[in-house]
């Protein structure tokens, strides 16, 4: 089956991103396809390349990143949610004249059209709430 996942919760304050990660791993292991992972609201913090996981805690950024690279996942952070939270890829950082970029592949920054497209393309869309 083809799945799209939507993640609303902050990786630092909610189990949303972690639960979605476990779902993604299991789905892939069982031979399902992940059309897209879409990070929305505080969920976009999952894509911060400069987040530092406390010692002894799960490093969600690295785990999502590794999974994304290994499986060629399409991982999109919502641009309107991302910009106001300081999550900019290199292109957006240049566009807004910011001193650093905080999002890099396999995460990409894009709009809600990707959410709608991912939903329509998938057989099932699963929302992991805030």
């Amino acid at each position: 089956m083809k799945y799209t996942l939507i993640i609303h919760g902050s990786p630092a304050a909610s189990p949303s991103s972690q639960t979605a990660l476990r779902f993604a791993r299991t789905a892939l292991r069982q031979g399902h396809e992940l059309v897209r992972i879409f990070f929305l609201g505080d969920g976009v913090y999952t894509a911060s390349r400069i987040a530092v996981a406390p010692q002894g805690e799960q490093d969600l950024y690295q785990e999502w990143r590794n999974l994304g690279v290994e499986h060629g996942l399409d991982m999109v952070v919502c641009i309107s949610a991302a910009l106001k939270r300081g999550l900019l890829d290199e292109q957006e950082a240049q566009r807004y004249n910011q001193p650093a970029f905080t999002v890099e592949p396999p995460f990409t920054v894009s709009g809600l059209g990707q959410l709608v497209d991912g939903t329509v393309t998938a057989d099932r869309t699963i929302t992991f709430g805030a």
């Binding site: 939507i6 609303h8 929305l40 609201g41 919502c78 309107s80 949610a81 709009g111 809600l112 059209g113 959410l115 709608v116 497209d117 939903t119 329509v120 869309t125 929302t127 709430g129 805030a130």
Partner: protein, 118 residues
């Protein structure tokens, strides 16, 4: 044409979920999907007339609702039980809304190809 329903069940200004839902609805409508909004529980408050959230940092989501018809989103649903619980009728709502019984909700939701929760 595929159909997509946004299920919106949070208060309008306590988070950005309502706004995200309406924005997704407008994008889906612009992709020529057959779209509908279902507001549940505290989500019905987003439909109230005469909202004045100008002192708050977010956008006035009720003005975005006015765009729904323009984008071809014609079906907006609430539950009668929710209206009753909040002491409201459809007259108190900003846009034309169909009130259905809670018992009809599952049937309504299963009529859509896709349902997104906000």
């Amino acid at each position: 044409m595929a159909s997509l329903c946004i299920l919106s069940s949070h208060t309008p200004y306590g988070s950005t979920l309502v706004r995200d839902g309406i924005e997704t609805l407008l994008v889906a409508a612009s992709y020529d999907l057959d779209t509908a909004l279902v507001a549940l529980g505290p989500g019905i408050l987003q439909l109230l007339k005469e909202q004045a959230p100008d002192a708050l940092p977010g956008k006035n989501t009720s003005s975005m609702l006015m765009a729904l018809e323009l984008y071809g989103v014609e079906s907006v649903y609430v539950c009668q039980e929710d209206l009753h619980e909040y002491g409201l009728t459809c007259e108190d709502l900003l846009i034309e809304t169909k009130a259905i019984a809670r018992s009809e909700l599952a049937g309504l939701l299963s009529s859509f190809d896709h349902v997104l929760n906000f």
